[in-house]
Symmetry: C2
Subunit: 168 residues, 2 copies
């Protein structure tokens, strides 16, 4: 089996999104046990002009769904950014996982040279599918997923790199 | 051009390692300008039982060189973990970039089913090349590179996600 645009995208997103689901469970249990206001973690930023935890999770989901949809040539579904709890963030991830599984694998396969456009106006970017996946979507996805993990670790949640890498 | 094990590995590592080089320059200039002891950043951990900045950079380099070497079927060069300054960390990255460029591209291409073994004793892991690259080496690489970035951001270095994503 040779490497495909499908194998380098959807299964990778699924691995890390499933890790984040398990990490969110641990964060939720932690704040309950320690009687911490969940917003202390959900709104935590590693620096005042960085995005809070909730946005990191939302954006990681957006790169997973946006990349899978664009490579597969289907519309990118819009998700409202209205999550206010660990449970709601878990639901967003679950919704993302469900969506990326609906993108036909055979439409993602062969998308190496597909013309991909993101953004609009001055922020419009043009890519081939391969450059978009490897050099843009995956780095952004991992950036936000790791930063979400780092925020929780920085706040004392007892998780380790194994929780981030998860199962594959 | 179809996706290859080469295009999904070495050029991705190069993109992010080059970003880290530029970020290290900014960190070095920052501590000089602000008269900060460089060790305050080099030894900084986001939590006491997390690894310090220096180790994050070293390990990111190790995943880049280890993955490129194993996929290419060449020996993994051993690097001493003795960097004590931003300049030395830059040299480590430069050495890593130089090494991964020596691994023959045509030996990495076609490594999807190559048997890859990492670790030893109880920690031995067996992979196919494809699983190793997509589900192990790339996630670990991005994890450490992002955490290095997060440490500097948390300490007030004026960098943004564009610095992390870099050029591709």
């Amino acid at each position: 089996m040779t490497l495909s645009m499908y194998s380098a995208s959807v299964p990778v997103f699924k691995q890390i999104l499933n890790s984040l689901l398990a990490i969110l469970d641990k964060a939720d249990a932690h704040v309950t046990e320690k009687k911490i206001d969940p917003q202390a973690l959900l709104q935590f930023r590693l620096y005042p002009d960085m995005l809070p935890f909730t946005r990191q999770i939302q954006i990681a989901c957006d790169f997973a769904k946006g990349c899978s949809a664009r490579l597969g040539g289907v519309d990118v579904p819009a998700f409202e950014d209205n999550e206010r709890s660990f449970a709601e963030l878990k639901a967003r991830i679950t919704k993302t996982l469900a969506f990326i599984d609906t993108v036909p694998q055979d439409q993602i396969a062969g998308s190496e040279q597909r013309a991909i456009t993101t953004g609009s106006g001055e922020k419009t970017k043009h890519f081939t599918g391969q450059t978009y996946l490897l050099h843009y979507a995956l780095p952004h996805f991992f950036f936000h997923a790791t930063t979400a993990y780092d925020i929780l670790r920085h706040n004392g949640l007892e998780i380790g790199k194994k929780d981030f890498i998860g199962s594959y």
